[in-house]
Subunit: 196 residues, 2 copies
């Protein structure tokens, strides 16, 4: 067989969730049916590794020192929303309900995976939130065990520095039928009920 | 967000079976946790596109004009085994039961996908099998509808040129329990039964 093909198959296995069979199938497909796509992917990888950094303000991926969103003068600078990933940030942006700035953790606290406060660079978040302009930090980490633990840890840390900290509301999802919503969510919605 | 990241996400979607969510997850993973892997994959793709050709004899992927297996003087040159893909060829090699040469179709006849005899370059196979040295062609395409149709088509074509053509035996798989083997396979095994 071909050495270059073996090397390509091996390299494709570095992609998350891709095993030996999938890697081989991808390599065959690219070489047989889409060499243009392979060349394009090669360039895209090279360019991304070369130019993508972390925004100095919000820590998300950016080609520039400060990302477009952080540089946008029309955003409310007193509000800082903490999310786990750029994908989460995009979801919130799509709701059009938030006009403040963000801080992207690029992960979550996960002791089982050996990710502690230092690995998440939480000191960067503390520095960002303590700039004297930020008044409220909205924690929008996931509502998983790890996301909740991360929110709790950050909350304690920022409250100790006198910052106002809030968390996304929990409750029954829009369109949710009680019969099919889990008991934990309903219990939470009952405790957090608000006047109608 | 980052333009380079968008370009990378777009390029990753050229991989077979990768949708927008997976592409985004892969891009984040590479940039956050495995930039070395991303750079390696970039090089591997570039190198593969640049150096991988089709073997002049067997049509499989090869870095050289004629692949190692075809150049191997110890193989029986009177036997030619036709397979659909390099992966199929590797499976047969692993059995250590075949010492002849191969011809790799790099696909199968599939009218629904618009793949006819011309798209498969069957003329190349005819030329290869008619070199005066090949005595028997063993058809080892898959036992799917498309693989069977491909085998039938090639068989007719080569027999018309006076070549001996055979097909891998069908029957109950090794370790197969009749109770769990499909009726079609058992029927075939009954018809093709051999003296014990």
């Amino acid at each position: 067989m071909s050495r270059s093909l073996d090397f390509l198959t091996e390299a494709l296995r570095r992609l998350p969730g891709i095993g030996p069979k999938s890697a081989q199938r991808m390599a065959f497909h690219l070489l047989q049916h889409d060499r243009e796509g392979a060349a394009m992917l090669s360039r895209a990888l090279y360019q991304a590794v070369d130019t993508v950094h972390h925004c100095a303000m919000c820590n998300t991926f950016s080609d520039t020192e400060v990302c477009e969103l952080c540089a946008d003068e029309s955003r409310e600078r007193a509000l800082l929303c903490v999310v786990e990933t750029p994908a989460d940030q995009m979801m919130i942006e799509q709701t059009l309900t938030y006009k403040g700035l963000y801080f992207v953790l690029m992960g979550r606290l996960s002791p089982l995976d050996g990710i502690g406060p230092r690995d998440l660079h939480l000191d960067k978040l503390v520095g960002r939130a303590s700039d004297g302009v930020v008044e409220e930090v909205v924690l929008a980490t996931n509502f998983t065990n790890e996301g909740e633990a991360t929110a709790h840890y950050i909350s304690e840390m920022l409250k100790a520095r006198g910052l106002k900290v809030s968390r996304l509301a929990r409750g029954v999802p829009v369109g949710g039928e009680l019969e099919y919503v889990d008991a934990g969510t309903i219990a939470r919605a009952m405790l957090d009920r608000r006047s109608a």
